[in-house]
C-alpha cells in the first residue's frame, strides 16, 4: 500500500513530474519536477511565484494542465479517499462568522465519517492543540487574525492526518501567536507528521525546518538545506510591518537597542514599518516585547515579499 510505504519513509510524500498549470494565457507553474520527502518542508517564494498553485495542485483542487502529481504515493486528482490522510489549511479565511470555533471544526470533521460525539471530542482535542480551547465557544466573527489562523489549523489536523499542508499559516499573526504556531509545527514534525508549509518569509520557514523548496515565476529554483542561501538573505535589508497599539513607543524601543541593526523606520496609521539587517534578532526581540506587555498590544506582524524578491533576483541572475 502506497500510503504505508510513505509512513515507513520509503516514498516521498509528494511527487510532481513535469507539472505545468496554465490559467488561460497565464502560466502558474512551469514544468515542475520535485519530490518532497517526509518531514517538514518549507515552500518559499514571493507572492505570485506559484506557491498557491502548487498547494492547490497537491491538494487536488486543481488539475495539472500537464504532468502528474502524486501525494502519499497515489494520484491526488479525483481521489478524495486520500483526504483521510491529508489536512489542508488554506491561506484565505473560509468561515461562517456566525459559528463558534468548536461548531465549525466539529462540523468539518464529521465529513471524515466521525459520529457527532466523536467529532465533538476530536474538535476539542484539535482546538486544545492550537491553544484555542478558551475561545472555542466564541463566534469566529469575533476572533482576531491569529485566532482565525489557529482555528483553520485546528480543522486541518482534527482528523489526525499523515500529511499537513499549510498555506501561509503565519500570515498576519501577532508575535506570540507566531511563536506558538512555529513551535506547534516543529512539534508535529518531530512527532512524525509530514508538513508542507508555504511562506514568502525565509525567517519563518527557517524557524520551522531546514528543508526548503524555493519557487519563483512558476519554477522550482532550488531545493534542500535552507542554510545554503541563508547568507544571501542577510545581505538584503528585511522590511517588517508592525501594527501596534502604540507604534511610537514600539519604534522608540527599536531605536534604543542597536543590536537589531534597524536601518530605517517609518510610520503608517497605527503601525510602524521597520527595515532591519538582522531579522532573526529583530523577530526574537519583537516577540519578547509583545510578551512583556510593556509596549501595549502588538497586533500584527507582516513582511512584504520584496525582501525575498531581492534574493530571488540575485539567485536567477
Amino acid at each position: 500500500m502506497a500510503v504505508e510505504a510513505v509512513v515507513m519513509g520509503t516514498v516521498p510524500v509528494v511527487t510532481a513530474e513535469h507539472v505545468s498549470k496554465w490559467y488561460g494565457q497565464v502560466i502558474g507553474l512551469n514544468d515542475v519536477s520535485v519530490s518532497v520527502p517526509p518531514g517538514v518542508t518549507g515552500l518559499l517564494g514571493p507572492n505570485g511565484a506559484g506557491k498557491s498553485t502548487f498547494m492547490k495542485l497537491i491538494t487536488g483542487q486543481l488539475r495539472p494542465s500537464k504532468g502528474d502529481v502524486k501525494v502519499l504515493g497515489e494520484p491526488i486528482w479525483r481521489n478524495p479517499h486520500l483526504y483521510f490522510q491529508i489536512g489542508f489549511c488554506p491561506e484565505q479565511d473560509a468561515f461562517y462568522d456566525r459559528m463558534t470555533g468548536l461548531e465549525w471544526v466539529r462540523a468539518l470533521v464529521r465529513l471524515n465519517g466521525l459520529t457527532e460525539k466523536e467529532a465533538d471530542e476530536a474538535a476539542r482535542r484539535a482546538l486544545a492543540a492550537v491553544d484555542l480551547m478558551e475561545a472555542a465557544g466564541k463566534k469566529i466573527g469575533a476572533y482576531s487574525k491569529g485566532m482565525r489562523q489557529r482555528v483553520k489549523m485546528a480543522q486541518a489536523l482534527v482528523h489526525d492526518p499523515q500529511l499537513l499542508i499549510l498555506d501561509e499559516p503565519l500570515a498576519g499573526m501577532d508575535p506570540i501567536g507566531r511563536r506558538k504556531t512555529i513551535r506547534l509545527i516543529r512539534d508535529w514534525g518531530r512527532a512524525g507528521k509530514s508538513i508542507i508549509v508555504s511562506s514568502h518569509i525565509l525567517h519563518e520557514i527557517e524557524s520551522m525546518t531546514s528543508n526548503i523548496l524555493l519557487i519563483n515565476n512558476g519554477r522550482i529554483l532550488a531545493e534542500g538545506d535552507v542554510h545554503q542561501i541563508r547568507d544571501l538573505i542577510d545581505e538584503h535589508p528585511h522590511t517588517v510591518y508592525v501594527r501596534a497599539e502604540d507604534p511610537r513607543r514600539v519604534a522608540r524601543q527599536f531605536l534604543d537597542d542597536t543590536t537589531d541593526d534597524v536601518r530605517s523606520l517609518r510610520f503608517e496609521p497605527g503601525a510602524v514599518v521597520v527595515e532591519t539587517g538582522r531579522p532573526d534578532a529583530f523577530y526574537a526581540r519583537l516577540t519578547d516585547m509583545a510578551a512583556s506587555g510593556e509596549f501595549g498590544a502588538i497586533d500584527e506582524v507582516t513582511s512584504p515579499d520584496d525582501n525575498l524578491q531581492a534574493v530571488f533576483q540575485y539567485l536567477v541572475k
Binding site: 478524495p80 489542508f88 473560509a94 468561515f95 465529513l111 465519517g113
Partner: protein, 280 residues
Amino acid sequence: MSPIHDQSYRHYAGVKAPLGRSWTVIASAGIMTIVRKRVFLAILFVGWVQFFGRAIGFYFSNTIQQLSVLSASAETFRSFLEYQGFIVFVITIYVGAGLIAQDRRANALQLYLSKPLLRSEYIVGKLAVLAAFLLLVTMVPALMLLLVQVVLAGSSGFLKTNTFLIPAIVLASLLQVLLASVTMLALSSLSKSARFVAIMYAGVLFFTKAIFGVLYAITGTTAVAWVSPGENLAQVVDVIFRLKPRYATPWQVSLLVIIGLVAASVSVLERRVRGVEVVT
C-alpha cells in the same frame, strides 16, 4: 536530552468512513440550520394551512349532505398541489437561495472539497436540504389529505376508485420538487449573494410567465406555453392526474423542456461547484 520520536511505520489512527455517505452530513447540517429559524417555521405553518382547510372541507362534505360540493376528487388533489405552488416558491427562495451562494461567499467550498467528500455528494446533500422541506409541503400533506378523506368517509371506496392518486401525488410532487430544487441550486452556485440569487429565481419565473402572456396575446394560442417552466410543470401534472391538459402545447414537449432544464442545471452545478474558482 531531547526525546527521539519514532518516525517509522505507524497505523493511521483516524476513522475511515466509506466515501459516499458524507452527503448526509451536509444535508443534516443544512436542515438543522434552517429549522432553527423562527421565520422558516412560520412559513412552514402557513404551508399547512391549505391542508387543514381542505381537511375541514372533507369533514363537512362527509357529514353534511348539502356540502357535498366540498367532497374529494382527483381534481381536488391536483388543485391542492397547484395552490401549494406558492409556498413551494417561497420555501425555494428562503431555503435554496443561500445553499451554495453562502458557501461560496465564505470560501467554504475549498475546505469542504479538501475533505473526503465528492462534489456529487456535496450537491446531493444541498439538494436534500431543499427537497426535504419542499416535500414536507407537497407530497406529505397531499398524501395525508388522501388518508384524511379515507378515514372521514369510513370506507376505502374513494381510494379504490382512484387508485392512481397515490402514484400521481408522489410523481407530481417529486417532479415539482425536483424542478424547483435543481434550478434553484444551479442559480445559487452562480453567485455569492443569496439575495441576488433569490431575485434571479423570481425574475426568471415571472419573466417567462410574462413572455408566455405576451406570446399568447399575439398568437392567440396556448401552444407557446412551453416558454414558461411553471406552465410546463402545470401541463405535465395535469396529465399525471389524468386531467385534460390546460394548454395546446403537447405535454411531451413540456416534459422535454423540464428534462432540459434539469439537465442544464446539473451541468451548471458540475461546472460551478469546485474548490477553486479559476478565472482565465
